[in-house]
Subunit: 268 residues, 3 copies
């Protein structure tokens, strides 16, 4: 087994063995599907957004995942409150700035969370990441339309500004810290045809962040797992509907040999 | 290819080519499944309900879908606000009056939306449509219990009163404008055994309304696609669970020959 | 057919014949999946939480299901209001205290509901049930970590205190009234790897409570059906993703012979 393959596989085994509790304050669209994905990979999801309980809940968790899709005003307060407690406790925070750039509410919310509860990892698509660097309206719904090298540049700028890891999904996934760029070329064209697949990658990033001391490795390993599970799922399905079920199966069934055979990761 | 088949197929191809952004203010139960269906058919869904952002979001969209299932008071305000902006911009509005007739909140909300932000297309089941004509309590949950000709009469009355297209799902789907009645006899008995299949038809109606200049055609083509995808899915599944995944596959995979072989549409 | 098998099968047939309306005030994560499960078993689900309509809605329903996952403060008020009307009308109430013990908000909410709108059946996992007996923080997310006999003791204590039936899911399901303990050893290890499978069991308990005069039988029959459908589904799936779809299929397709061959229920 190569070094990167072994490192991913160790993280997967740790998630399966430790079943870390992942506290998600996330959007309505993906609450069920990301909980399913976390369970399939071996983690224990909890979805909780009430301002009365988020601090208590994050105290039980090993990662806090903040996702601003289907945002309302009261949710931002809960995210800030949970984020502050996570910071105090040293619980890693993964932020998915869903739709940042599309509306002022979302861009402002993402910027406020970055400022007030600095995330360990920001995970989004290229449009969202760009919107946080260039302060321009670039998002078209939740799709991404930017090429890989532009994404790398935006991710590097954001990682430097926020002193965090930035993980950008796309045909090539790009995971960036202040010093390192990792590119992953796994995945399948049906993945963006499934609602919330990006949010699923974010939740799974949360699971890896719970067991890995390196946010950069956690973010990269999560994207590698998602891409490889996507490839495995596509081989067992007929379209994006059957793909979803097969993707969860693959997260549950994936073995070290799957990483050995499929991993297409480069570090620069 | 017959005229109707060609017209449907052209709309499907336009959705796949243009990937129109569909802004949904919809209920919690179906947010994920209708997003999946829109993605499978080739559209780009966004779910957004916050009063702070709905106007901005509808400005990016090509159709606004309003669905009053799991309604709360603040959501009605967002729907009105989004609807006004959609009207101002000429963005078509598709309304699904889920549960109208079952409770005062829902009937009143549906009537208010019809009055204040007149929809281009109203799409519901027979009980819901009847409740908007007869002001009687007729809904039994989200099921429909009325026969087809009664549905036609109610739909015609509502279409005339509201100057819009009315699309009624049932064993026979009925799509009505002030002058025309279209009946579609595609579909499968497992469809009402899947949560939110009506809401899915509404969302897909939104995708067709985005690419078609005719609301009547958009509504009819959407119901034809749903019914035919349902037939295709039933042939590849064992029950309502596997049916759901196969239905998404069918929306993604459907070809012109499927419409040619299966379409059972009559216009009067 | 044995007596227990016949009794379960009669209830299943009644649900399929009568399609009772089940009013759910439940959490965002499971709204879709529990609606699907209720439809698959033959019931008619409605999800409705608005304080303006819950009393009207419960007046149409044959069971009220209260589930405190993803709770917010306003939802508790709706649950109390709906619960009072259910009590007034003699509509059975099934309570799922999701996450009770994990946070004060949830434990307090569960206790308030038990006090103000005494449920007919409380259905949870062992950690949740224990938290309502011992007032200790025992829940780890939504998982259960307690053994069966401890669960029996906690369930008996809670059943005696609340004068209701208590149904505890686990490797062995335990259903308890003041006099009787029923143990069910059906099910499959993939079931806790699917989000909201416990909530699904609760919703299905609601369907049985709608047709059965005995809350104890309703609760036990629901758990037997879930366990047996889980076994059937596992034989037709490859992992927890394909399992979910096959589980819905099994709820829809299950026959008397499946109960005869598989039921592992003991009464003491």
């Amino acid at each position: 087994m190569t070094g990167p393959t072994r490192a991913i596989w160790q993280d997967v085994q740790r998630i399966r063995a430790e079943a870390p509790l992942i506290h998600n304050i996330t959007n309505y669209v993906v609450m069920n599907t990301t909980a399913d994905a976390l369970l399939a990979v071996g983690a224990s999801p909890v979805m909780s957004h009430a301002v009365e309980e988020v601090e208590e809940m994050v105290g039980l968790a090993r990662t806090l995942v903040l996702n601003i899709g289907t945002l309302g005003a009261s949710w931002i307060e809960s995210m800030v409150k949970a984020g502050r407690e996570a910071r105090r406790l040293g619980v890693p925070i993964v932020l998915d700035p869903v739709g940042s750039g599309a509306t002022s509410l979302r861009t402002t919310a993402a910027e406020r969370l970055i400022a007030e509860v600095p995330p360990t990892i920001i995970r989004g698509n290229a449009s969202e990441i760009r919107s946080l660097v260039h302060a321009e309206r670039a998002t078209r719904g939740v799709d991404s339309t930017h090429d890989s090298e532009e994404a790398v540049a935006a991710a590097r700028a954001l990682a430097a500004r926020c002193d965090c890891v930035v993980s950008v999904s796309g045909t090539t996934d790009v995971i960036v810290s202040s010093e390192t760029v990792i590119r992953i070329r796994n995945g399948h064209p049906w993945m963006p045809r499934v609602a919330g697949m990006g949010c699923t990658a974010t939740a799974i990033t949360g699971a890896f962040a719970a067991v890995s001391p390196s946010p950069l490795r956690a973010a990269a390993h999560a994207m590698a797992l998602c891409g490889i599970a996507g490839e495995m799922a596509a081989e067992r399905s007929q379209g994006p509907g059957t793909f979803q079920a097969a993707f969860l199966d693959a997260l549950f069934l994936v073995e070290d040999s799957d990483f050995e055979q499929r991993l297409r990761m480069e570090e620069a």
